[in-house]
Symmetry: C2
Subunit: 418 residues, 2 copies
């Protein structure tokens, strides 16, 4: 069974926004066992939308479109698809009432243009929108169903989960068993990682295991997939091989971000961490506080951008800053110890470096970073050279700091490292 | 002239990564005057890739593929396209030398698998990779060119800019003039925004102006496009209408993020800001420090998650926390004043609220936020209800805080607000 996704929106084709729908829908549908064969994005233009839909419904049992159901004049998907299917549009009084209620609840006036969202093509199934005014719509096709979802993610996502998923179960028989597992690793490049595991996995690959690699800055995902009755067994064996050969380079088997993993470890050990950031400017504190429940292990983050702030909030000695500079082993060490002392936390991480694009010297070029790590036993400082653009630099540096903390906790807990 | 983009990668179809290539390439190509008609993503599978390429080269003068040029076994794009075009692959000794040098410079051993990246289809043009080991390749097609770019963004982007752009100028004559301008607004919903400007714009639309809206949480982009000799004039007139009718709801005419706009305003006024964050956990400090040059206006960010940290670093009174709670007008006020006093900054913003998913009460439900704003004249506290998931909550709340600061600076500078 084939699934295709069509994302409509000139803002996509002009590159003004990132298409987050593709990733999200593919993830959800894959987990339900559906195979997404193709995703297409086109302009908000009649010909382009109709051609993409016409092609997709000939190939795929399930076609999902996103966007173009809103109230403004460039929202044309509903009309174009009704036209393509030769189905007249009729106003649905229940949807009109729904939209009126949406505005009444928010004590806001209802713009006249929103009424167009109550139009439903003949034979269409309505997917109610509990987070906005544009309902989704589904129409039968010769091979299966075409589903139109609204563009805003906070409307599309609950609609998909709460309303479309139960309908998919009615419309389509259970797909062939499909198992997909992704392991997140850090500290090994993509080629080295494959060299380490591929020879041992070759027997499983011959039995139908799929192996994929996805390299990003600071981490590589290893992905195992299999289809059919033996799929769970095949993937489990591959995971066993990877665990054996990659050891603690694997930081997550559940697609968790490294920050979630670290918050989880701290929570289990009943330990806390404080963060002192200069070059990463709050990025690491933000990653940690993105994790629900972080408040139990995270006391405070001090984003001390200026020297004055390093002195005022972390007790760094003015003489240290004068003699060694803000980007130095000595400053990183004092920042970490200051954050630990003033918050009373078990651990503290301090990050000071030159994010660029300017500010480098021959001795300390752009990308130079010192990460100070204070534990109950003392403080150590690591030096790195992270030559990336500003935002990648922040991610990569925060990743290194989190991994220093992760490996330290594992070591204290007596878990062997590789 | 038509352009199509084909993104290959099972990690895309399984929803493990977001397709940032589409957005980036579409943005670059649009700015060069190219019209991207269609973007397609498919699995790393022979049939899917070859079918997508076969269709695209029949329709489009320029086809760009991304991904599948790396060293691992799922990198199959180069081979498949050579096969489709019936061109034998030959090893290019200059590329081999390049790859060897890449590893030598980094004092790393060269994995044998990377050598496959030196294979070039007969008649292929090589695009050198200065940031990795996989070169890009270009092949002539009956209608124009097919270009293969590597998957990692930090390899693809400089290769596109430094090597492909000059080639595009050689290969294709100057496209029809195309002007595209996007205005970023905040504080007005999409429908209301259209109601306010559409009637006045209708004359320009009749002359060929395109108008698009893109609504995100906390901001709506209004986009004007035109093609042809009068395009610059048409778009300029539309921008004039929008300025007149939307006033200070427009915060950027250059696609700048609100944080960049605020850093720019502070820099021009020679003013500084400090941030005290609880519920946003460093998100706002991180947005501000993403702006190059932020260090001139940003002293410090205090991520005071715990009550103890609010007392220690901001001087919040324990009695205030006891009587009113951490999420209260009184605490927000003391946090802002404390951050301002201890950093000596002109302004301070303090954010305290309940991000959720848990922690709400009937009096202060999840989503409740107090934003304290300290100026040289005193302090004001705004209360909001931001009912979003955790990460959207952080963005939306930081957006409100930045807009409070922006409007205050505009007012002080004597710029009228609407």
């Amino acid at each position: 069974m084939q699934v295709e996704i069509i994302n409509t929106g000139s803002e996509l084709m002009l590159g003004f926004v990132v298409n987050t729908h593709q990733q999200w829908l593919c993830r959800q549908l894959s987990d339900l066992g559906f195979n997404i064969e193709r995703q297409v994005a086109v302009h908000d233009e009649a010909l382009a939308i109709q051609q993409a839909v016409r092609e997709a419904i000939q190939r795929a049992e399930l076609v999902i479109t996103t966007g173009g159901l809103g109230p403004t004049s460039d929202d044309i998907t509903r009309d174009l698809i009704a036209q393509l299917f030769d189905k007249p549009l009729r106003e649905d009084p229940k949807i009109v009432a729904d939209i009126e209620q949406f505005f009444a609840q928010r004590s806001r006036q209802m713009p006249a243009s929103t009424r167009v969202q109550a139009m439903v093509p003949e034979g269409g199934v309505v997917l109610w929108n509990n987070h906005g005014t544009a309902p989704g719509l589904a129409l039968p096709t010769p091979r299966g169903w075409l589903v139109m979802l609204p563009g805003p993610p906070r409307e599309l996502r609950p609609m998909f989960r709460d309303q479309l998923v139960p309908k998919l179960a009615q419309w389509f028989s259970t797909p062939v068993p499909f198992v997909c597992k992704s392991l997140k690793t850090t500290g090994l490049g993509e080629s080295f990682l494959e060299e380490r595991i591929a020879p041992t996995l070759s027997g499983l690959v011959a039995q139908g295991l799929g192996v994929g690699y996805c390299a990003r800055v600071g981490e590589v995902d290893v992905r195992f997939t299999a289809r059919g009755d033996d799929s769970a067994q095949l993937v489990a064996e591959a995971v066993g091989v990877a665990r054996e050969l990659l050891g603690s380079h694997i930081f997550s088997e559940t697609e968790s971000d490294l920050a979630s993993v670290v918050v989880g470890l701290l929570t289990r050990q009943n330990h806390t961490v404080a963060i002192a950031e200069s070059c990463t400017g709050g990025y690491l504190a933000n990653r940690i506080t993105n994790v629900p429940g972080a408040s139990a292990v995270f006391q405070a983050g001090l984003v001390t951008y200026s020297n004055a702030a390093k002195i005022e909030f972390l007790g760094v000695q003015p003489s240290t800053l004068e003699q060694h500079g803000a980007v130095s082993e000595a400053t990183a060490s004092e920042m970490a110890l200051g954050a630990q002392r003033r918050t009373g936390s078990t651990y503290a991480l301090a990050l000071t470096g030159i994010a660029g694009p300017s500010g480098g010297t021959s001795e300390k070029p752009v990308g130079t970073v010192f990460i100070g790590f204070a534990t109950p036993e003392g403080v150590v400082v690591h030096r790195f050279l992270n030559e990336y653009d500003r935002e990648t630099f922040k991610f990569y540096t925060s990743q290194q700091a989190l991994d220093i903390l992760r490996r330290s906790i594992l070591k204290v807990a007596g878990i062997s490292l590789s």
